[in-house]
Every structure is written in C-alpha cells, then in structure tokens.
Symmetry: C2
Subunit: 338 residues, 2 copies
C-alpha cells in the first residue's frame, strides 16, 4: 500500500494539512501498518478490493483526528494507533456501501470498487472491514470505546437510511438535512476524537470537549463538501462539478434554492432532482439558480457557524501546537470549498 495522500492545493490552508500530517506522522506509520496488516485475508479478493480503496489516496482525515486529539491532550501511550485504524476501517466500509447505494462509478479520481468488482463484492468486503474493525477494538479491550464506535456505526447507518428516505423530496427541511449529516458524517468525526479522550483517561469533560469538536467539525465539513460539489474550486481539485446534481443527491445548496425560488424554479428542481429528468444544460441552469439565491455562500456561512463552535469546544485545553493545528483544520475544511 502506498502512502498516497491527496495533495491539496490552495491558499494558506494547504500548510495546515501539512502541519497536521507532520504532527501525527510517526503514529500514522503505525496506523498504516495496522491497516495493511489487518485487511489481509486468505480470500485474495478481500485485500485486493479493500486495498484499492484504502491505498487510493484518501486524506485519512478521521484517523488523523484521533491521533491529533491524543496529541492535544498529551496522551503518552500508543493505543490511539490501533483505534485510529478502526476508525478508518469503519469509514472505508461505509464508503464501499455508499458507492453501491449511490451507484457511483468514480471516487478519488479512479473507478469505484463496485464498478471494478461488482456490488456484491463491495457489500461483502465492507462487511468484512466493519467486522474486522470490531475485532481490533476488542483487542484494545475498552468497552467504552466499543460502545462509542458501535453507537456511531448505528447512527451512520440510520443517517444513510434517512438520506435515502428523503431523497425524492426536494422540499425536505433544513432540520432533516442537518439530522442526515450529523448522523452520516459528524457521528464518526465525533467518535474519532472522543476515543482519544477515553484511552487517555482524563475524565468526562475532556471526552465531551473532543466529541463536540469532532461533531461540529464533521457538520462543517459536510456542509462545505456539499457546497464544494457545485463550486468552481472543485475543478482545481481534479473533480467534476455537479456530481450531486447528476445523481439527484439532495444537499443544502439545492434545498435553499428550492425554498427561495419561484414556481418556475421549484418546477425545475422537482423535475431534475425528484424525477431525475435532466439534460446537459440543466446543470448550468442549476448553478445559475444557486448563484441567484447565493446558496453556496450561505451553505458556507452555516459551515462557519459550526466551525466556530468546533474551535470553541477546544477552549478548555491550554494553547499548544496541536490545538492551533486542530483549529486550523476547521478553517481548512471550510475554505477548501472556495
């Protein structure tokens, strides 16, 4: 497995992710070694398929958050490494299943596993990684960590089902959208940070602060991600603009444009997003409506609100390099959508 990490370009924010990577570089070697070792199986297709995704240049943001959190609170042990691998396995399992559910053909600039090996293999290898993650947690031996990560896993699945349930309704409320992203994205960010507090045994306040940081960061991250999909910035990251639109995936920029739009616009969103009746020109029209109502900027404003809360959650910790970086990561997650 190569240690590809997505090169992220743009403003000063690029240096923050570099700093984060430098902060956790030693630990991350152990995490990567654990990931590589524990995705093995006598069934060759498993490491083949899992490795395709795991080595494909994800940012490893979630395990890095576990490692940075451990560093922030001065934890001297090494348990965070195995647990960070658990977090990445859970994330990878959900990506494999997500790509099946969304019928995605591309991820991180290459073909998805379901596109290469089929839906069946993706579902089953996702199950394997998920089970393997729990085996790793059991080896660590903390029932509290097991509780946090099993609860997060249930919540992720609930969020995904909720997203599916509302997929055909462009008038879905912002409240429901928030519930979806809190569940499908923020729950794992929160758990990834909180478990570092658990292994450090520094009490409920520390665990709660880390959990809140992760949760708010996760919400901000997903809001920015959903704005990014429609942003010109997307092209500079080597991705196509408007994938969510083409897939009929309902996100806040569209939900706000629908609410603010007139009858003609509402009919446009209903046709394109609910009936999946789209032509090539519709994306241009969609972008024009988003611009007209400023919904990308407003989605990012919402993200900033949660980002601010994420940074404030860290207030109980003394100033440190780790704290500065973790605050910088919040801005990075939001600013990448510019």
């Amino acid at each position: 497995m190569s240690e590809n990490v997505v090169p992220i370009t743009g403003k000063q924010t690029a240096s923050v992710i570099d700093e984060l990577q430098a902060l956790v570089a030693e630990d991350m070697k152990h995490v990567n070694a654990t990931i590589l070792e524990r995705m093995q199986s006598h069934v060759a297709l498993i490491p083949q398929l899992a490795g395709h995704l795991i080595a494909s240049g994800g940012k490893r943001l979630r395990p890095m958050l576990t490692l940075a959190s451990a560093r922030l609170i001065g934890y001297e042990g090494s348990r965070q490494n195995k647990l960070a691998a658990c977090v990445e396995f859970i994330h990878t399992a959900t990506l494999l299943h997500d790509d099946v559910v969304d019928e995605s053909k591309m991820r991180r600039g290459q073909e998805t596993a379901n596109e290469i090996w089929g839906n069946q293999a993706s579902v089953l290898v996702g199950d394997f990684l998920f089970s393997r993650s729990f085996e790793l947690m059991v080896e660590d031996g903390s029932l509290k960590v097991l509780k946090i990560l099993s609860a997060a896993s249930s919540i992720i699945a609930e969020g995904e089902v909720l997203q599916l349930s509302v997929a055909g309704d462009v008038s879905t409320s912002e409240e429901t959208y928030l519930k979806v992203i809190e569940s499908k994205t923020a729950a794992l960010f929160a758990a990834a940070c909180e478990i570092a507090g658990v292994v450090a045994e520094q009490g409920e306040d520390v665990e709660a602060a880390l959990r809140d940081y992760g949760r708010y960061l996760g919400i901000a991250f997903q809001l920015a991600d959903d704005a990014l999909d429609y942003s010109a910035k997307q092209a500079t990251l080597g991705k196509k603009i408007g994938d969510d639109f083409r897939e009929g995936k309902l996100t806040l920029p569209v939900m706000l444009a629908f609410r603010r739009g007139d009858d003609t616009e509402k009919a446009f969103w209903r046709r394109t997003m609910e009936d999946h009746d789209q032509t090539e020109e519709d994306l241009t029209q969609a972008l024009a409506y988003l611009t007209k109502h400023d919904t990308l900027a407003d989605t990012l404003n919402r993200a900033r609100h949660y980002g601010s809360m994420a940074k404030d959650a860290l207030a109980i910790f003394p100033d440190s390099k780790a704290k500065t970086i973790m605050c910088g990561i919040v801005d990075f997650c939001i600013d990448r959508a510019y």
Copy 2:
C-alpha cells in the same frame, strides 16, 4: 411483530423442533421482545424493513441454539437472552446482504426486502442491525463474547466473498466448498453455542464442546440445505425445487455430479452453471444427472458425518432433556432434506 415460526412437517423430526421450542419458550419471549425493541429507530424505514424479515417466520434456529446451550449447561442467569438477540441480528443482517448479493426475489415464501425497498435500503438496514448487534453485546459487557462474535462476523464475510470468488468455476474442490460453508454458515452456529458457555463461566472445555457442536451442526445443516434445494421434499415445504440451479449457485450436489460426469455432462454443467445459459428443461436434466450419480444421497452422507461429530461433541455433558433435544436437532437438520 408476530411470533411466526415456520411450521415444519414430516416424520418424527417435527416433534424435535417442537420440543426445542418448548425448552426455550420462556427465554425466547425475552429474546423476541429484545429484538422488537432494539430494531426500532426514529427512521421509520428501519423497523419497517427489518420487521418484514424478522417477523416473516424464520425458525430462529440460531438464537434457539444459544438458549438451548445455556439450558444444557444449567446456566441460571439471563444474559443468554440479549446475546441470542445479537445472534439473530447478525443473522438477519447477513440475510439482507445475501439477498442483495444473490439478487433474490423471494425468501420464506414472501418478497425479499431488496425486492420491496430496493438494494440500497437492504444494504443500509443490514449495516444498522449489525451495528445494533454490537451495541447489545457492549451492554452485556463481555469482551470474550465480543471477540467471539466479531471474529465470527469477519469469517462470515470472508466465506461469502470466497463463495463469490469461486462462483464461476464448477470444478471448485470439495475442500473449498467446505471452507465456504464452514465460514458462511457454521461460524455463526458455533459462536451462537459457544457464547452460552462463556456467560456460564464453566471453563474452556465447555466452551470448546459447545463451539464444536455448533460448528459441526452448522456444516451438516448447510450440506442438508444444499441437498434440500434439489429434493422433492422441498415442494412439501412450500418452496420451489432448483433455486440454486437457476441462480447458478454452486453447491456440493452439483460439484460432485460435475466430478463424476463424462464430457457431455461436464459441458452441461459448464453451460448452465458457469455461462448461466439455461432453458426450462435444463433443471430436469440436472436432476437426472444428480440422480444418476447419487449426489444428493452422498451430500446427505457427508452431512451425517458432521452430524455424528456434533452429537459426539456433547458427550462431555451428562444426559439431560436439553442434550437429547440438541442431539435430535442434528438429525432434524439432516432429515428435513429427505
């Protein structure tokens, strides 16, 4: 949730399953209550979809094995109830994913969840039940139980991927077939029995004996199941003969017929099972080849071999009603294929 249990007709074996149900009836009420309570979610589609399968008249054989094992060793507590629900949740999650993987349209005489709600919902609700199962285990609090069931879950997924990997090769060895059914079926039977020994804290020998019983029973069960699919008995259970054939699902009766067949027969199996090129008449021809080489009877002979080992694994326990029933269940699992 109704407490439908599949009525099983035929010979004296029917009474054994009645006896098993009577033996564990009190505990099973708690198990069913836990299942019903813990499959709930604020996302309505989850209990709707999960309930469709859970209430659809499965035999609840795996949780009954946990309960019967607890009874066999005289365990007086109540932890087996929650853990039996965990076992049923894992089983249900794998069924949901299996039906997606196999593109099955019918199960237990009614439409599959994927047929009604789509593959996406089935994948995600499976993930939910799987996570929920681990949450329940964490509530029980035994790391040993968590280890056994997380390992079993990994092995099940490995077995399913292995089955997928060999699906297109009718010359697959019996050894590989055994590996598949040991993983995808016997691992959960083994774990279901073993965890009763763990909560009773009666030592490694008791745990090993229960694990071996479950494992051998699971292998015998799957062998008989694979024979049953081609057996006239199938019709008396309200199922169609030859589903495995139509789905191109490779099982021992066909693998033995391929090995024992001449070039014409080998070409027949390659065309129908590997190339999925079938006509209506091919099933009749397939059954004729199975009969010619006696492969259903021989598959059941293999099942009897493992069934015998299952019964012998219980030799360390004194005679009791529970022991008699658990031995009878072995014969029941095999004889239902006559």
